[in-house]
């Protein structure tokens, strides 16, 4: 390998014109959040008894979980399947998954009518409820992601704890604790890595089981009993496009050299993964005979076609094409297509647009407040990403004298 990459905190000014726009959107979102908590869901959202779930569940939660799949897919690839050549991508992937899931949790809290009762879930949970399983898995996985990220924190602060004045006496104990945690995590991290992958597979699929109970209310194009499998396959397929998109965005934004070598090799996985997903979707369609709904132009048939054509078929062809894998722009476009049309639109369709209640008086359109809060949350997430990569050694930069730290493994009996 030519250059070794060493993760380091990025040194750039925090404020740029883009950041200022994000700050404005974030403040706007926060104002609406205050209104939501002050005056209730009815004051801010267009939700009603016909449409109990809207933009926040469709995008913030359902799409948010799917798009955070970069974390478990990358950590599985590197740590479980021992593809060390992708090591530079693990830390950013884990960090974005951690941020993503944190904001899924926050998004859920905004949507809950009695958010202050959320602690009822682990103690009163109803194990027949799919939502309970999703909730527990997401909560546990969020904790797992924080643990998986923690070595980055210890790496940043071990030997660098310099509290001033009164707090000075804490310097030594904190350093000792960090060192102890670091050693402990080094030995046990394999457990959390495998746990993270198992939990992800569980809740990514269960998220698809969630709307099966709405049975007759969901359009047949989307209502299938293999929905959990389709959600799992599409989440696995979108993991690497997310990593590629984030990596290219970050390198562009910080003016760094893109890790094109690793990204190109990562891109080679995407075509086959999308292929498996597409084959499952089409097989399900043929078996259930739902292609009849594509015969006429309706809202549903158009959305389904956009989802599959622009979100799966075209990007799949692109990822199989060497010219695309070699071009930053084309790789970026292909990844974005999977993310926006293949996954975000699919999740929004399954949860929101395909949902038609039996007594239907008016169509649901997200309100300004709902959109503001969703956009605000995404803006805060991007700002936090920027702040975290400036504080912690996450993004790798070329360094000739660097040897990567020993990777995590199950410490078996050494012969």
């Amino acid at each position: 390998m030519s250059d070794m990459f060493k993760p380091e905190p990025i040194k750039r000014p925090f404020l740029t014109p883009g950041v200022i726009i994000l700050l404005i959107l974030a403040v706007n979102g926060i104002i609406w959040i205050i209104l939501r908590f002050g005056f209730g869901l009815g004051a801010v959202t267009n939700l009603d008894n016909q449409h109990p779930w809207g933009l926040w569940i469709g995008i913030d939660v359902a799409a948010g979980v799917a798009l955070a799949a970069g974390g478990f897919t990358t950590s599985a690839l590197v740590h479980i399947f021992h593809r060390e050549d992708f090591h530079v991508l693990v830390r950013p992937a884990i960090m974005t998954a951690m941020l993503g899931y944190t904001f899924v949790g926050i998004g859920v809290l905004f949507d809950l009518g009695r958010y202050y009762n959320v602690w009822h879930v682990p103690i009163m949970g109803n194990s027949n409820s799919v939502l309970f399983e999703v909730g527990i898995c997401v909560m546990t996985y969020l904790g797992t992601l924080y643990i998986e990220f923690f070595p980055v924190v210890t790496e940043r602060f071990i030997g660098k704890v310099h509290l001033k004045g009164f707090w000075k006496f804490l310097n030594h104990p904190i350093d000792a604790i960090l060192r102890w945690i670091d050693k402990f995590l080094e030995k046990t991290m394999f457990f959390f890595i495998i746990l993270g992958v198992v939990l992800s597979c569980l809740h990514q699929s269960s998220l698809g089981t969630l709307m099966l109970i709405a049975k007759y209310k969901i359009h047949p194009l989307w209502q299938t009993s293999i929905r959990p499998l389709l959600f799992l396959l599409s989440a696995i397929a979108v993991g690497y496009p997310m990593v590629i998109m984030e990596s290219l965005t970050a390198s562009k934004s910080f003016g760094l050299k893109a890790e094109m070598d690793a990204l190109r090799r990562l891109g080679r996985f995407v075509g086959p993964l999308l292929g498996i997903y597409l084959a499952s979707v089409l097989a399900d369609m043929v078996i259930r005979g739902t292609y009849v709904y594509l015969g006429s132009i309706t809202k549903e048939s158009v959305l389904w076609t956009i989802e599959i054509l622009f979100g799966v078929i075209i990007p799949m062809r692109m990822f199989f094409w060497d010219k695309v894998l070699r071009s930053k722009t084309l790789l970026y476009i292909a990844s974005l297509m999977v993310i926006i049309f293949g996954i975000a639109l699919n999740r929004f369709d399954v949860f929101i647009t395909a949902y038609t209640p039996p007594y239907f008086f008016k169509t649901y359109m997200p309100s300004i407040g709902e959109i503001s809060i969703t956009v605000g949350l995404i803006s805060i997430e991007i700002l936090l990403y920027r702040a975290l990569v400036m504080i912690f050694p996450v993004i790798a930069q070329p360094d000739k004298n660097y040897r990567p730290k020993a990777k995590y493994a199950i410490r078996g009996v050494i012969q």
Binding site: F37, G38, G40, L41, G42, A43, T45, L47, N49, Q50, P52, A76, H79, I80, H82, L112, G113, R114, N117, H120, P122, I123, M124, G125, N126, S127, N128, S129, V130, L131, F132, E133, G135, T140, K187, F190, F191, I194, V197, V198, L202, S206, T209, M211, L212, I213, A214, K215, Y216, S225, P228, P357, P358, A409, I410, R411, G412, V413, I414, Q415
Partner: protein, 299 residues
């Protein structure tokens, strides 16, 4: 060196135990379907649209009732209404398919399913099917996620969107607290001036409904709505015309939870699939590690 294989197994077992512990603590509702469960038979051919049931229901549940005289105003029938946070039952009017006959009126409310989707869906077990047939909601558990509303095939639970704190899920509770749990009929049944509503044991009501249809085949359409729909409901309807013309949803006979509970239970039966996946991934990780080590030794 480092963690031994035994330690690895220990950690895996501990993790699994923690996870199972969480599951066992879960208050999963058990559906006790008593043979003597109660129900209400609605005979739409006897309903005169006086809306006394609406008034009685509001009064019983402490909701603002307005003036009793206003309930005689039939202009409310111009638009189809749905049960909402301020009216747990509503009477609607539908055109009569038999020409020259007056329009059909009937009340709608929670059907009190025998296999309720809301009970299966609720994340914290706030819904439960009582032994007497009532499906009720427990305010002290609810977290306001509104998954019950997504699940309900009859689109019944209503949510108090305009309350910032303690919003409630509002739906007919079959007057469980003060009436049906003590053997008294629900307020609406008591208020009904005709014999449109009959409160009784469900199996007797099913028989009564079929007897009525058999005795007067010209008067009734041969379908007891709720006898088989989504596995059966405590509220049963008979009318002079097809229920699709009365805007009743066309539903199959399988209980709604049958769509999700088998999948859930298959995945979590003794945690076999998650543990197996864990073991598989652990195995791959370990084998890869050993392979790499032997390669390093060769170098």
């Amino acid at each position: 060196m480092g963690t031994s294989r035994r330690d690895f197994l220990k950690i895996v077992t501990a993790g699994t135990l923690v996870a199972t512990g969480v599951k066992n603590a879960a208050a999963t509702p058990v559906n006790i379907l008593s043979d003597d469960r109660m129900g209400v038979l609605v005979d739409a051919t006897a309903c005169i649209g006086c809306r006394q049931c609406e008034y009685a229901c509001k009064e019983e549940h402490g909701l603002p009732t307005g003036n009793l005289e206003d309930y005689a105003d039939r202009s409310v029938f111009e638009h189809e209404r749905r049960p909402d946070v301020d009216a747990l039952t509503v009477v609607n009017q539908y055109p009569n398919v038999h020409k020259d006959e007056p329009p059909v009126t009937l009340k709608v409310q929670c059907m009190h399913c025998d296999h309720p989707a809301c009970v299966s869906a609720c994340i914290v077990g706030a819904f439960s099917k009582q032994e007497n047939g009532a499906v009720i909601w427990d305010e002290s558990r609810c977290i306001g996620c509104r998954y019950c509303m997504v699940a309900c095939p009859f689109q019944i639970p209503a949510f108090e969107y305009n309350k910032a704190i303690e919003p409630r899920i509002m739906k007919c509770d079959l007057c469980y607290d003060n009436r049906t749990s003590k053997g008294l009929p629900p307020a609406c049944v008591e208020a009904c001036p005709t014999e449109a509503l009959t409160f009784g044991k469900r199996y007797e009501l099913v028989k009564l409904a079929h007897d009525k249809i058999d005795n007067e085949p010209d008067r009734y359409f041969d379908h007891v709505y709720g006898e088989h729909e989504v596995g059966g409901t405590s509220w049963l309807y008979i009318s002079g015309q097809d229920f699709s013309t009365l805007h009743f949803p066309k539903l199959g006979d399988e209980p709604i939870p049958g769509a999700t509970e088998p999948i859930q239970h298959a995945i979590f039966k003794f945690f076999v699939p998650p543990v197996a996946l864990y073991a598989l991934l652990g195995g791959i990780m370990w084998l890869g590690k050993n392979k790499e080590e032997s390669e390093e030794e060769e170098e």
